[in-house]
Symmetry: C2
Subunit: 454 residues, 2 copies
């Protein structure tokens, strides 16, 4: 064990109550980005929590809620950036909370409150780690630290990508610790290396100025059939996309990625039980389900056309609409995929299908042998006593890309205070005090040793 | 001109006011099958209008609204059956009527009221024809006559097929005159020889017990895609059905049918203008649109699955539903098509698609050279001074089949009082008095000469 590690752990043990008190204060302050409730006060509170620790505060102008940047200089040239957010999900339905969502309450070894885990608990665990590392290093940080704490993560971080692009000098760093992390569903420390990108689009067809009588179906053009054929042209039951050029930039998993995938547990039985699934997409089974995360997808979010009531109505729909999303693997680019999709529809004869763009995020992934990944895994095993479960790529998307790319392909990892049942976004959200402590211990080890990765 | 014809026309001319008065009485009596309003009183009124003319009344028990059967004996063995209905569409929206729907009002040479055309006007025109033929034949009918007047046509005639099957002896006849008929959109007498059948079905897929996160789309089964692929398997953009055996009983148009189709006007320009259509189904153009009525169809009435609100939602739908209808040509059988559809889905691997039956009607068509068709066309030209426009098959469906088949493949034709703008089912429904007169003249000629077809 490194010399500072004992000091760090002792410091955190001695001051746990203080950090829980700080977390209680932060959680008692509502900050619902969906409604705006409490946002300015919570931003001030976060600023104060950083400035009392001597971090230099900046609040660059954005079009949205305040983004608080706190910076502290360390002994090395290297810089570690912590990403967090102070906004929370709406607390409704209120009647399902055992104690009120903005009256933080400790019971059974856990703190219950909206934001107790996501993401106020994780933010305070980082403040604790920051304090512990400073104390263990005679009041000095071994590397520079930047905190970025935004206020719109729960509504999709609409301004964060632009913010990072506009302030890449201020945010220049050598690695970043994202929100999330902690224990996975198997109670092992989990480490996510990558997220897929996403392109969401709308498709619409207007075939006539009003619905027709189905007695005319041998001649009148059906918007429903046109849309169905257009969507059908995108993908077959083998789940392979038929858009020309779609896979050109799609990376296969590396040998290291493949060996990490192989170590992940077989998800089939659990999914069958929880979701009552009979057959998986493309007939996938067992660990092939895990491996398929490296296959980009084309998902139908919804379709609406024609008559949807009881019984029947002999109508030819004049309008049909669908929303689709494509989950993209590294290094696919949603801008390029949108252009390929446009070209596909045109070349397949679907120029009557109106295509609109609903949203996009880029894929982001760090290499399994990146030094920050190795450090995170090694320190996780120290803290939790179990080797980390490393997921090279998860199916969902994350604004991680908004930092990783513009800041120079920096590695981004997660380490935190979560576990599988902490009910984020739901009533009775909580953080277990033991997870809070282990998360702080883990984060402190990473911060303490980050300078040595150079 | 036949000897009776002048007498018939003179009789009708002399008594026109009496028949309009009778029609006013009938239209003043509401009879909305959708709500039941006025149905029993209207049934009694119809019974009385038949019994005062000496017809023998029967009201066989049915599960629905009264069906009035009136029978009168004639000089020959041959029997002609008139089908009508006394129920009407709901009158709403009331504020769009110039005069109240159940206060029949004559203006500009037309009688305005709900049911003035559909179908009370047509019924009274037949009573006028009945009286005129009797008067012109010294108080004798040249053939037997049966009136069938039902009270649920506007809600889909749910009991009529069973009624005819159960009372085929009572209804035995050699030919039938259906509702409808009169002038078409080109102001020519129109004659429809056939209607397509219909099979309406529901398709539903439940792929999971709840919606999934679209980040799992590489593995979790999408009800939306499963349903889309299943529907796609039914038909390609060439509009040809891919169900094995689907066309086995589909008759091609005969040489006579083909020559009648060729005489119908080219509908393309009008459809393009009225419905703002860019491209027709299967790229059909000009008179090919008319010919395609002999192609059975597969129409999507509606599809609903997943998220349908604004913006986007990253969800994999666990449930997807669609309603389809197949318009069937002679001699396709909806029972058989349903079985073929079931077999198709099973053989294509869509055993997860739940198929349900929503409704069915059989196709029905009379041959263009049937003596009753020739009589109807010949008498139409006498009355209207223009050769009849004969449509061998229209795209829609009709309960005609419920009479034609069980009564021994009798010929069924239409002759009536309509024109293209009489606003049936809409506010300001009306019958023009000149159309009423011509309809009665036409119907009387058919009745007068029907015995001679033997």
């Amino acid at each position: 064990m490194k010399p500072n590690t004992n000091n760090i752990d002792n410091f955190l043990q001695q001051h746990l109550d203080d950090y829980i008190a700080e977390l209680v204060t932060l959680c008692a302050q509502p900050s619902v980005s969906a409604t705006g409730a409490g946002i300015p006060d919570c931003a001030d509170l976060v600023e104060n929590m950083l400035s009392v620790r001597g971090l230099q505060i900046q609040r660059p102008k954005t079009a949205g809620n305040p983004i608080i940047v706190g910076r502290a200089a360390g002994l090395s040239e290297r810089t570690l950036l912590f990403y967090n957010h102070y906004d929370v999900q709406p607390p409704e339905p209120l009647n399902l909370w055992t104690s009120p969502p903005f009256e933080p309450t400790i019971r059974d070894g856990a703190l219950y409150a909206r934001g107790a885990e996501d993401d106020k608990g994780e933010f305070v665990a980082r403040l604790a780690a920051f304090d512990a590392v400073k104390a263990a290093n005679n009041g000095q940080l071994p590397c520079n630290v930047i905190f970025v704490v935004e206020g719109e993560e729960e509504v999709g971080s609409p301004y964060i990508a632009e913010f990072v692009r506009n302030h890449s000098d201020m945010l220049a760093c050598d690695g970043s610790v994202w929100e999330g992390g902690g224990l996975n569903a198997d109670d092992r420390p989990g480490l996510v290396l990558g997220y897929r990108g996403i392109l969401a689009v709308g498709l619409a067809v207007q075939s006539m100025n009003r619905d027709g009588h189905s007695g005319g179906a041998h001649a009148l053009p059906s918007a429903a059939w046109r849309l169905l054929w257009a969507i059908n042209s995108l993908k077959g039951p083998d789940e392979r996309l038929r858009i020309r050029g779609f896979y050109d930039r799609a990376l296969k998993p590396s040998a290291l990625d493949a060996s990490l995938l192989e170590k992940l547990p077989d998800p089939e039985a659990k999914l069958r039980r929880q979701l009552e699934v009979d057959a998986f997409a493309a007939g996938r089974q067992g660990k092939a389900i895990n491996r398929a995360v490296f296959e980009p997808t084309c998902n139908i979010q919804g379709i609406t056309t024609g008559y949807q009531g009881d019984g029947m109505k002999t109508v030819i729909p004049s309008r049909a609409e669908a929303k689709l999303d494509f989950r993209l693997v590294p290094d696919q680019d949603p801008d390029e995929i949108f252009a390929l999709l446009q070209a596909h529809l045109a070349s397949e004869g679907f120029s009557d299908v109106q295509l609109s763009r609903l949203g996009a995020m880029w894929p982001a992934k760090v290499a399994p042998d990146d030094p920050l990944v190795l450090l995170t895994a090694e320190t996780a095993e120290e803290v939790y006593g179990l080797p980390a479960s490393i997921d090279p790529l998860v199916g969902g998307s994350s604004p991680v890309y908004a930092f990783a790319k513009p800041l120079g392909d920096i590695p981004v990892i997660s380490a935190g205070t979560g576990y599988s049942d902490n009910r984020i976004h739901a009533p009775d959200e909580h953080v277990r005090l033991s997870d809070f402590m282990n998360g702080a211990r883990h984060l402190a080890r990473i911060l303490d040793r980050f300078a040595s990765l150079a």
